[in-house]
């Protein structure tokens, strides 16, 4: 199958209703095997960096919240970390706890969103429905605390803009208890399911060496055994005072990435409970700060990994240069290591395993080679992924979706 005539290019993307951002992948395949992969990123370069350079330090966090529909807290807090690094200031404890609470709520709903999408890609729509159902109360909690399901508009340089309504804390605790129980059930069902283990183990392996070479971050790196987490390495907000642990897995496959994310959900709930218990009194910001000339680097552990902002000030009230590096920017190129040689049916879930603010395959077009071989139709990639799951399930003599009775604990 190595002759050139059997090579085809399969285009994935760039637009699909499930996509948060448009991104295009070109897979070069020989028969079933992927031999080359390339990504195109130029669809929505919004020029936000330049836009932020024309806004004051007070306005920039609001602009940066719009970078990502999921990680809204991430970029605004990361920018604040960068400017606070430049200034050399420490924010008040209450502000640190508020940043931690909104950041962890964001991680919770982002990880649940990924678990749902991952289930969808391999034909486990029960997981999809469950995970997104459990995500709703987390978004509700975010809305109760900040007034919006995604964009809080809270972070500002030197603290946060508004206080959290402490009278809602009992309700938040109740939501956390509920979500923890449900996610425990989901985790047990996912980790015990033999079809899922057969489907995801050994798929899309990213070795630790490749992970370091591509500089991948977050759950993608931790699932390849790299012990890295900005929350512990360079504690910002209140993480230094809290009791939690970094979840790592050695295998580097899609299953390991799922395990890391599922277990991190429980760490997030643990962090949130501690924050609610210890919520300190006092000021919530340092007031208006003058930013002198200089430069600062801010880092933040987003749900998808380390976010980096570089800020350079020339003494005016606007940054002279703001560089934003989102975690997916380094995670996406690692597909070149994890997808090569993989069968087509595994590509969807391998691409999705990095949680790359992108998803699916419906709008794929195919370039047919000169011999005029049949078209490889668009939705077939997703279909191939699901068919492989069904075949595995049949071979194992099981139903091709989660065994709901057993997951309830009522079956068997």
């Amino acid at each position: 199958m190595s002759d050139q005539s059997s090579r085809r290019v399969v285009e994935i993307g760039p637009f699909h209703p499930l996509l948060e951002e448009p991104v295009g992948f070109s897979l070069t395949v020989e028969g079933e095997r992927v031999v080359a992969i390339d990504a195109r990123m130029d669809y929505i370069h919004k020029g936000l960096e330049r836009l932020a350079q024309e806004r004051t330090y007070d306005m920039v966090p609001i602009v940066l919240e719009r970078i990502c529909g999921i990680c809204s807290v991430t970029h605004s807090v990361c920018f604040c970390n960068a400017v606070e690094d430049l200034l050399g200031v420490t924010i008040p404890p209450r502000a640190a706890y508020i940043r931690t609470i909104i950041g962890e709520l964001e991680r919770l709903h982002s990880h649940l969103l990924w678990v749902g999408l991952a289930g969808h890609f391999i034909g486990y729509n029960t997981v999809f429905m469950w995970a997104w159902k459990y995500r709703e109360p987390v978004c509700d909690a975010f809305e109760m605390l900040t007034g919006h399901r995604q964009n809080s508009a809270l972070p500002m340089v030197g603290g946060v803009r508004r206080d959290l309504p402490v009278e809602y804390f009992p309700a938040i605790r109740k939501i956390l208890d509920q979500v923890e129980g449900e996610v425990e059930r989901l985790t047990a069902a996912v980790l015990d399911d033999p079809v899922l283990a057969a489907r995801l183990k050994g798929v899309g392996v990213l070795t630790p060496e490749a992970a370091l070479d591509f500089g991948v971050v977050g759950p993608t790196a931790r699932a390849s055994g790299l012990d890295t987490d900005v929350r512990r390495d360079e504690p910002y907000a209140a993480y230094a005072e809290l009791d939690w642990k970094v979840v790592t897995q050695p295998a580097g496959d899609v299953f390991a990435k799922a395990v890391v994310r599922l277990l991190e959900i429980f760490e997030s709930i643990k962090i949130l409970r501690q924050c609610l218990d210890r919520f300190p009194a006092g000021e919530i910001n340092l007031g208006t700060l003058h930013v002198p000339p200089g430069e600062g680097i801010g880092r933040y552990e987003a749900p998808r990994g380390e976010d980096v902002h570089y800020v350079r000030s020339n003494g005016t009230n606007m940054p002279e240069r703001l560089k934003v590096r989102a975690p997916s920017y380094v995670n996406i190129p690692s597909f070149k290591a994890s997808c090569l040689g993989a069968p087509m049916a595994d590509v969807m879930i391998t691409l999705a395993a990095c949680d790359p603010c992108y998803s699916c395959t419906e709008r794929a077009i195919t370039l047919v080679d000169s011999a005029g071989a049949p078209w490889l139709a668009a939705p077939k990639l997703l279909e191939a992924s699901r068919r492989k799951t069904f075949e595995l399930a049949r071979a194992l003599g099981r139903r091709p979706d989660l065994d709901i009775d057993r997951a309830d604990g009522s079956g068997r």
């Binding site: 990123m41 130029d42 370069h45 020029g47 960096e49 330049r50 690094d85 050399g88 370091l212 070479d213 591509f214 500089g215 790196a221 790299l226 012990d227 890295t228 390495d233 360079e234 430069e295 680097i297 880092r299 380390e306 980096v308 570089y310 350079r312 002279e320 240069r321 560089k323 590096r325 920017y329 380094v330 190129p333 070149k336």
Partner: protein
Amino acid sequence: MDAAAVATRMEEAFGDRVSTVVRSPKRLVASCAPADLPEVARWLRAALPGSRLATSTGIDLRDGVGLFHHVAINGSPLVITLKVLLPKPEPHAPTLARETRAAEWIEREIHDLLGVTFDGHPDARRLVKAESMAETFPLRRDFDPAEFKERIGERPEF
């Protein structure tokens, strides 16, 4: 290892070819000539286990285009910024894509936005910029959005 310790080791290894400024225990700035960039990058990778290229920043300065490589280390708060100044009007720098694949995309992006040519880059295609911007570099100081809009936005060609 904190910033001062890394600065000492860098000075031992490179002498006056690298100058360092310790901004804080977790922030180190090192400057070198563009030609020394790959060598310094290789040294950092070997000397600091778990180090990776977090990202790079390009910035249009008065004397040239500044190229700042930010190196982070897994498990450490230290971030090392490796700075070089590339003279205008045609800034070019040696690529780091052969030292670490993490440099591939960010160098393509800096080429798109600032027009820096990376010598020896294995795949120097356009990454983030719209096709219509061609040889326009939006993060250069002489870029005029109004002029650009008038040139291509107001009169779309069909």
